[in-house]
């Protein structure tokens, strides 16, 4: 039996996989989409209309670097015209003041500017690009314009000690929101996991620090943070449930339930060039596969939390157990939790902040 499709709420638009950064934890798949296959401006505009008609409220423009598309301003305008709230998730690197003004005039609702560290050296190491000082310049331009801004710091074992400096950067700039996103382990991050996963002690200290910051800054600045799944007691409700809230469109128009779903063998993804977004959302086999509770192992199906975390993340189950339909092994109740515990044991047996620069695997730029 398949479950009826709920209304989708969010669209993640991976406009391109091209990016000036080469981050060691990039959430893009190991096999990056090529420029030649990217959707056209008109095709994206149709996707936005179809998404809004299907009930989607908000669109996140991401990539790669979404501004690597020369038509990014047109795409913002098209998405706004469809009635969507538009966020731009950017490194800031392809921006100059004129283009920023165009984005604001086109109606961009919210910009999320990413940072890889609190200092140039750290940021360059993790992003494989010298980019930090340019980002600070972009931050300064953004502050002087009327647009909502979130600073996003990707945090992990090798930069957690910079947390106070990161927070100070945000406080000085007077930004309304700051997100500390602990790396989750898919794609490039999975490949670099042993160098990125923090120790228990590092994590506990950072959570304590961030909780205090939340309390102190209430009403002034929103401080959000996410802990790594591996340290959680229960899994996250990945994407708010498979095929329940979110649609992801890859640069070439494939429609996925999440960033990493391509790693699950046997799933066929349909393309917006062939069918309407609503049809794909409602009926495609890939979206039906893990929708609702029918697919769940008995442990999850009988669990009180089945409608809260939906059995966790299918891609994590796949990566760690080889079975996409298993209980997410980060769950403390999962029969295969020992896999995660073994990873944590090895991480916690070593020092949190090694002086030796790891042998990072950097994400390349696609052809």
């Amino acid at each position: 039996m398949t479950s009826a499709a709920p209304t989708p709420l969010g669209l993640i638009a991976e406009l391109t996989h091209r990016c000036p950064l080469h981050c060691v934890y990039c959430s893009n798949p190991l096999e990056l989409g090529r420029r030649a296959g990217e959707l056209s401006t008109e095709q994206w505009a149709r996707v936005f209309r179809e998404a809004a008609q299907a009930g989607v409220l908000q669109a996140d423009f991401t990539g790669g670097e979404p501004l690597a598309r020369p038509d990014a301003v047109d795409l913002v305008r098209a998405a706004r015209a469809s009635g969507l709230y538009v966020s731009l998730i950017t490194s800031g690197l392809p921006l100059d003041e004129a283009r920023l003004d165009e984005l604001v005039q086109a109606g961009i609702d919210h910009i999320q500017l990413s940072f890889q560290g609190a200092t140039e050296d750290a940021a360059s190491e993790f992003s494989g690009t010298k980019s930090h000082s340019q980002k600070l310049l972009v931050l300064d331009w953004l502050k002087r314009r009327r647009v909502a801004l979130t600073l996003n710091f990707v945090i992990h074992r090798a930069n957690l000690h910079q947390l106070p400096e990161m927070l100070a950067m945000a406080e000085t700039s007077g930004v309304g929101r700051i997100e500390f996103a602990n790396v989750q382990y898919y794609g490039w991050a999975f490949a670099n996991r042993e160098h990125l996963l923090p120790t228990r002690e590092q994590l506990d200290r950072s959570v304590e620090f961030l909780k205090q910051a939340q309390e102190r800054l209430r009403g002034k600045m929103q401080v959000e943070f996410v802990v790594p799944d591996y340290y959680a007691k229960y899994p996250k409700a990945c994407m708010g449930g498979w095929g329940k809230k979110m649609i992801l469109i890859t640069p070439n128009g494939d429609v996925l339930p999440c960033h990493a779903a391509r790693i699950i063998p046997g799933l066929q993804f349909e393309n917006v060039k062939d069918r309407s977004l609503r049809e794909i959302w409602e009926t495609s086999a890939a979206f039906q596969k893990f929708r609702g509770v029918e697919w769940m192992p008995d442990l999850c199906k009988s669990c009180d939390r089945r409608e809260r975390d939906f059995g966790g993340c299918r891609c994590q189950a796949m990566l760690l157990t080889g079975d996409a339909a298993a209980t997410d092994p980060v769950c403390s109740l999962a029969p295969q939790r020992s896999i995660v515990d073994a990873v944590l044991a090895s991480v916690n047996a070593s020092e949190g902040n090694s002086q030796v620069r790891p042998n990072w695997l950097y994400r390349p730029n696609p052809a």
Binding site: G83, S87, D109, V147, R177, R218, G219
Partner: protein, 103 residues
């Protein structure tokens, strides 16, 4: 905090109501959207940077005339503070406002 009754609440940058012609009304915020209806929608629609908190309270007391006026006021203040804590609302100081002076 308790909002100053003479301050004028305004949706923060990045926060807006969707268009009126949509099947349901939504308050958009960065990374979040709240479905709003009834009193919460009536309040948010009045957070225009022109009306003072006091004016919003008075208008809703008239609109919900069967409810206890003190209760209406308390609920509105609580809701405004909640929106403010979520960074969805700014309170513009009442004293610098000309429209507040001419009332």
């Amino acid at each position: 905090m308790t909002p100053d009754l003479n301050s004028r609440p305004r949706l923060a940058v990045g926060c807006r109501l969707n268009e009126k012609n949509q099947p349901s009304r939504v308050l958009h915020m960065p990374e979040k959207a709240l479905r709003v209806s009834g009193p919460s929608l009536e309040i948010i629609e009045r957070c225009d940077g022109e009306r003072t908190v006091q004016q919003i309270v008075s208008e809703l007391q008239r609109l919900y005339s069967k409810a206890e006026p003190k209760k209406v006021e308390a609920d509105i203040l609580e809701y405004l503070v909640r929106l403010h804590d979520q960074r969805a609302l700014d309170f513009i100081s009442g004293e610098s406002s000309q429209s507040a002076e001419t009332r």
